[in-house]
Amino acid sequence: MGKNSVEEIIKRTNAYLCIDCGECTGSCPVSRVNLNYSPRLNVEKMLVGFFDEIKNDDGIWSCLVCGLCSQRCPSDVNYNEFIRLTRREVRKSSDNLNYTHNRVLQRVMEIMASKGIQNRTQWIEKSLKVSKKGKYLYFTGCLPYFEVIFEYLDIHPLEEGRSAVKIMNKLGINPVIRNDEVCCGRDLLFNGDEEGFLKLAKANKKMIKESGAEKIIFTCPECLDTVKNIYPEFVGKANVELIHITQLVNEAIEKGKLELGASKDKKFTFQDPCALGRGLNVYDEPRNIIRSIEESELLPMERERENSLCCGPSSWISCTNYTKRIQRVRLNQAENTGAQKLVTACPKCYIHLSCALSGDDIDLKIKLKPITTLIAETMGVKKRKKEQDASSKYVKEKVKT
């Protein structure tokens, strides 16, 4: 690590303001399970000049980038940025990352960046109305790839995409879905691969410009956070409004455009995605949506809103038994509320927590539900499966009475 880059990291992240209070390590979910890891120690090592220790220690790769420490830091040190820049520097000399799934996701992203042609829009069925040009663009993110890669978990992330389009159709929006959209690149960036990220960011910038959209709707909060907060620094600001699907639905509900009927389940609890909550300050919208479901009850978890716990691994690296322990803690908190469904607003939370729930050593009653699917089901749209059809009739009857 060069001297200049160290100075850059310290300056850009406010690390020189660190007062060594230990608030970060005290609140870090990883430090709680992995006693060798400490954000404070990493910052101190950087300030004192022990770069080699940072380089050779795999602690730098176990950060979840959840942003809890930065939020609580009294000196306003941006630890996410610190991790991003340090990983970039460390990766230049050594590549000892612990990739998940044998690095297949990173490989897919690299192929996306190098090759323009994809077949990513084939999930759109005839019943879903989409237009070729228009004001609204729907950014699907990596959902089609998750559908294939996480087939073994018996989950269907693309169902979220279908539900999102159904919701938009109900609100009178026929979104544009582009085939030349690529991954937002957040995971590559937080793996320290800035070149790969830049390629993807440029491709997306071009795609957004060509589409001529005025509003982009996201289902993945991480994509939204990346496009909104990280893209301006690398590829310049795009003149479009960026919103999450929960913001769109909440607005419609407040204006009275959309009404949600009853669901099969009555008790819900909500998992705040790190990027949506701490990253974008969207806390109330998803909660309002769940509350507006007929006969529903939103139960607060032990840790929620600003203090919410991350769902485990991030950026598809370092999926260890430490992260499994964090997930177990989170799922137990959800179970203790007495809720039937744990609602998530992030496809990645859904995947990670499903993986934790599918483990042999865990025996919990709680089930997961993506928020888009929940909205699509309760707004009385026709469903695909037969079992769900029965429930939709039930919902309609309930709405009438």
Binding site: N102, V104, R107, Q118, Y145, V148, I149, E151
Partner: protein
């Protein structure tokens, strides 16, 4: 097209010298006539099958590069995508017959993995025919040679048709 089939280059036990000119061209040349095919062969059946093909002197093109793995179930989508992005024109994953798998369910697992990979390749705009799953036992040297011939022909056709793009 391959003008003349050359004797298999790599056999583990019988160390035969490769007949130089064509083999080296196949290794270095980037012409569609000489595709590069990575073969993941399982240690217990297919690798022995490939060995048998070599020992029995069955003729097949020199396009295959055999990588021995303990079980076909060890292969992940990442390996196959890695091979294709780093220059291979095709990939064969070859395991034991389902009933004969040394690790009981390895071949079944491999079958699932290949399905997933084919879907991924389709999403990424690659030709799915570039990946093939085969079940070759240790006694089927002839089958190994046939598969090699057929697959090489298929890859040549695809490459010529797509102008070398994957």
């Amino acid at each position: 097209m391959v003008k003349k089939d050359v004797k298999k280059k790599k056999t583990s036990k019988a160390k035969t010298k490769p007949s130089k000119a064509k083999t080296t061209m196949a290794i270095r040349g980037r012409k569609p006539e000489y595709p590069k095919i990575i073969t993941f062969a399982c240690n217990w059946c297919s690798y022995a099958g490939a060995d048998l093909a070599g020992v029995s002197r069955f003729q097949y093109p020199p396009s295959l590069r055999v990588i021995r793995v303990m079980c076909a179930g060890r292969i992940t989508p990442a390996f196959i995508l890695d091979a294709l992005t780093s220059g291979a024109d095709g990939v064969i994953v070859s395991g034991c017959h389902f009933e004969d798998c040394h690790y009981i369910s390895g071949s079944r697992k491999a079958e699932k993995i290949i399905k997933t990979t084919k879907k991924l390749m389709h999403l990424l705009g690659m030709d799915e025919r570039r990946l093939r799953f085969e079940l070759i036992s240790a006694a089927e040297g002839q089958k190994f040679a046939t598969v090699a011939r057929e697959f090489t022909k298929e890859i040549q056709d695809i490459t010529i048709k797509n102008n070398g793009e994957k």
